[in-house]
């Protein structure tokens, strides 16, 4: 299965939830947010959100800005 994470194609083996994807990417989970196909997925729903082929995922955090 192929999904797009922050614009990059990623191959995932088998079924994967959003929570599993985050673990696999070894991302720090504090104060990040995730969009799946342009809709925010609440943190509590990461575990129950199963990814589908061609899903588009945006994972954001905060940087310096004005």
């Amino acid at each position: 299965m192929r999904v797009f994470v922050n614009g990059e194609a990623r191959e995932l083996s088998g079924t994967s939830s959003l929570a599993e994807l985050i673990t696999q990417l070894e991302l720090p989970v504090a104060r990040i947010a995730i969009e799946l196909n342009r809709e925010v997925v609440r943190r509590n729903d990461w575990g129950s959100t199963i990814l589908q082929d061609d899903d588009r995922i945006e994972i954001v955090h905060f940087v310096g800005g004005g």
Binding site: N6, P28, A33, F62, V63, G64, G66
Partner: protein
């Protein structure tokens, strides 16, 4: 500071959506040369609120959290910088709210890359949606009174007109428009956002009746950001007091300060 001035400043608060802030300075977190420098500038400024930007997490390396470098006492105001459409700004605001559990957003929808001038139409559209979703919307926009009225009608918590292009340091280029906005919208919280370059610019913005000033580059790009942050803090306090004091009217010709009578002959 004199007793009168301290007394004035202790009860003279910046109010944003019912929340009171002692400091009328809101500052950015971008462009600093180091985290230490940013922290010193933030401390020196006395600001209670700082802006941050929302960006994709880099996937190729484990990135530390930028937010860990901020004083935890600061209120965080996420922006929608870099968005060119209402839709992208709305998505960015929703992501920021989910990540930070804050309803505050500095709404910024840019219309042009060279000037970074706002797209007022898209800004208004995004503001309407975000207010309905419960956000406290602080919109960056052009210094246009009619647009300001529309943003307030849409339910924005403040209006944030620019004084000059973002990061330009040109100073207040639109004193007449800011004054008109202040006079016509006396109840609105008006925060001048973008364009100040040095302390006198911030003082002028406050003397024109702004309730606060939001700045980033003027402090971050100063040779000594912490010192400039102190200067900005003082300028904003001075400008505020001067506004409240009510300045003397300008006149073209001299008016002697000393009595005209009794001069020796």
């Amino acid at each position: 500071m004199s007793t009168a001035a301290s007394a004035a400043s202790s009860k003279d608060k910046l109010i944003i959506a019912g929340r009171a802030f002692s400091s009328r300075l809101i500052i950015g977190t971008g462009k600093y040369r180091s985290y230490d420098q940013m922290r010193s500038a933030h401390d020196a400024s006395g600001a209670e609120m700082v802006t941050v930007a929302v960006r994709r997490v880099p996937l190729d390396r484990s990135s530390e959290s930028f937010l860990d470098h901020l004083n935890p006492a600061l209120h965080i105001l996420p922006n929608t910088a870099g968005c060119y459409t209402a839709e992208d700004a709305i998505r960015t605001a929703r992501l920021a709210r989910e990540a930070l559990q804050t309803d505050l957003v500095k709404l910024e929808v840019i219309g042009d890359q060279t000037t970074l001038f706002p797209d007022n139409e898209q800004t208004l559209e995004a503001a309407r949606v975000l207010v309905k979703e419960g956000f406290v919307v602080l919109p960056y926009f052009n210094d246009d009174l009619i647009m300001a009225k529309k943003l307030l009608d849409a339910g924005c918590a403040a209006i944030m007109p620019l004084a000059a292009p973002i990061g330009s340091g040109l100073g207040v280029q639109n004193p007449a428009n800011l004054r008109i906005m202040r006079e016509q919208l006396p109840e609105a919280t008006m925060i001048v956002d973008a364009g100040v370059g040095t302390a006198s610019d911030a003082a002028i913005a406050m003397e024109l009746g702004a309730d606060g000033v939001l700045m980033n580059t003027a402090i971050a790009a100063a040779e000594d950001p912490a010192q400039m942050a102190t200067a900005m803090k003082l300028a904003i306090e001075a400008g505020r007091l001067a506004y409240l004091a009510g300045r003397m009217p300008k006149r073209l010709y001299a008016s002697a300060s000393s009595p005209l009578q009794g001069v020796i002959e």
